[in-house]
Amino acid sequence: MNFTMRRWLMLSPPLAVIGVLFAGGLALAAAQSLGYFAPTGENALTLRHYVSLGADHEIYASLWLTLKLATAATVISAVAGLALALGLREVARRSRTINLLLQIPLSVPHLAMAGALGAVIAPSGLLARGAYAFGFIQQPADFPALINDRYGVGIVLSYILKEAPFIALMTLALLARLGDEYEQAARTLGASAWQRFRHVTLPLAAPAVVSSSLMVFAFIFGAFEVPFILGRPFPAMLSVTAQQRYLDVNLALRPGAIALAVVSALLTAVLTWAYLRLTRALIGLERPFIL
């Protein structure tokens, strides 16, 4: 057998999975949202499902909420993750327990984390009970809404608890691999602590922070469980809105729901690209992926 053929034969199993289930699934979804939806007898090319998304106030509210929450959670997680990594760097060099410790929040599933967080910040949760014990509030209703709230506080907090340790772990791994010779050299050359951080440590850590926060943003933008548990039904994050409409008893809503999911996938691609361009412009990072 010739060499090229053997190579592509070995590559074909994962490519088949991606081709049939991912690309094929996307293509079928696109077709259904473009007017080829058999269950309701739709069988002609039309953009009307996309047009009606554009005229739907709920969609704008949902899109805005998704962008806001995903950005807030990503930025805070990135800053907190970087701070954690820098603070733990010395300790992690001496003991490997730190890595194990950071693995724990990472391995708590989102649904469980959302449930545990709810026990603390819900109107009748531990925080509210503490506030009652100190006489700040008289009843659960007096406590500010932190779950199922307008601002999505619970959703953002839940993601920070999971994603900051993730970004910290990725950054720690990169810093450990690089060692501290560059910082030692800067110190020998007389750089101050701030100069060493700004011009040596930060650029060294940047690829890990950028690539892991990019994964975090893309994940949160399309995520479902946390907003489903801790968010409001209206306006909901994009995936929740799409799921509500997809599973509605009225099948006529389904092509619109699929159109929404397609838009969300396209937006993720565009935003990912924009993020890469932005980081390249800001910190001159050519290849943030540690692959």
Partner: protein, 263 residues
């Protein structure tokens, strides 16, 4: 050199934060699963009970079957993902060829884009071929998320191994199977363990994909958990959360230990 106090304080805070992030959710869920009539405004549970745990493991409740479904799906998906990923990741790590960047890009796409749109398309495909609402359909749908991850992670482990070792073993007269068993496999075993555990965890924690493809007919543990979270039985929801995270924590720990030993 002596460290400034400010840095010492910052390091201590970081350690406290790491311990808090790890311990708080686990402690909270444990207390909640054992608490009885823990109503407003009590700060501590007035009484303890094993009711939630008895329910979770009772043979008549729906928890054990959903646990079995979750386990069987995740184990089969892990096995399939690794088998599918192994030969390809070897090629991707060791060979330069035209189209390699395109293949890597194709592998990254499902990792980076939200799975919902593709899942909806797959759902319509499975509806047509009788795979929706079935165990097989759910397992197949979990491959979308697991195969790219497993392939990319295994590519990483192969690329840290010098392909010349295999060539040397072969020059010394080793058969293909022996080369694999005594050279390649031991070298990539840690990476294989990590990739397999990731695949397991991804499949184990799928919610929306299982809900759509399984049509609430194939009930995995996360589906049962959400039912109790939304149904309002906090103790059972907490106990289920702990059952749900037990394998993920176990896998994370054993991988970490394994990596440490193989260093």
């Amino acid at each position: 050199m002596k460290k400034p106090t400010l840095i010492k304080v910052a390091e201590a805070l970081a350690v406290i934060a790491a311990i808090g992030l790890a311990a708080t959710p686990l402690a909270l869920l444990t207390v909640r699963s054992l608490a009885q009539s823990w109503y407003w405004p009590r700060l501590a549970p007035p009484a303890w009970s094993l009711r939630a745990w008895r329910y979770v493991f009772s043979p008549t409740a729906e928890v054990l079957p959903s646990l079995a479904t979750s386990l069987s799906v995740a184990l089969v998906v892990t096995l399939l993902a690794v088998i599918v990923a192994l030969p390809a990741s070897r090629v991707l790590a060791w060979e330069e060829f035209r189209g390699k960047r395109a293949v890597l890009f194709a592998l990254l796409l499902p990792v980076l884009t939200p799975p919902l749109a593709a899942t909806m398309g797959v759902h319509s495909l499975f509806l047509r071929y009788g795979l929706s609402d079935t165990w097989v359909g759910v397992a197949l749908s979990h491959l979308i998320a697991t195969v790219p991850y497993a392939t990319l992670m295994l590519t990483g482990s192969f690329s840290r191994l010098d392909p010349d070792y295999e060539a040397q073993a072969r020059t010394l007269g080793a058969k293909t199977i022996d080369v694999w068993r005594s050279v390649t496999f031991p070298a990539i075993a840690p990476g294989l363990a990590v990739a397999a555990s990731f695949a397991f965890l991804i499949s184990w924690s799928q919610y929306l994909t299982t809900l759509l493809i399984g049509g609430a007919r194939i009930v995995t543990l996360p589906l049962t958990l959400v039912a109790f979270q939304r149904g309002g039985d906090e103790a059972i929801a907490a106990a289920l959360s702990l059952v749900f995270l037990a394998p993920t924590a176990a896998v994370a720990f054993s991988v970490a230990r394994f990596l440490k030993e193989s260093r």
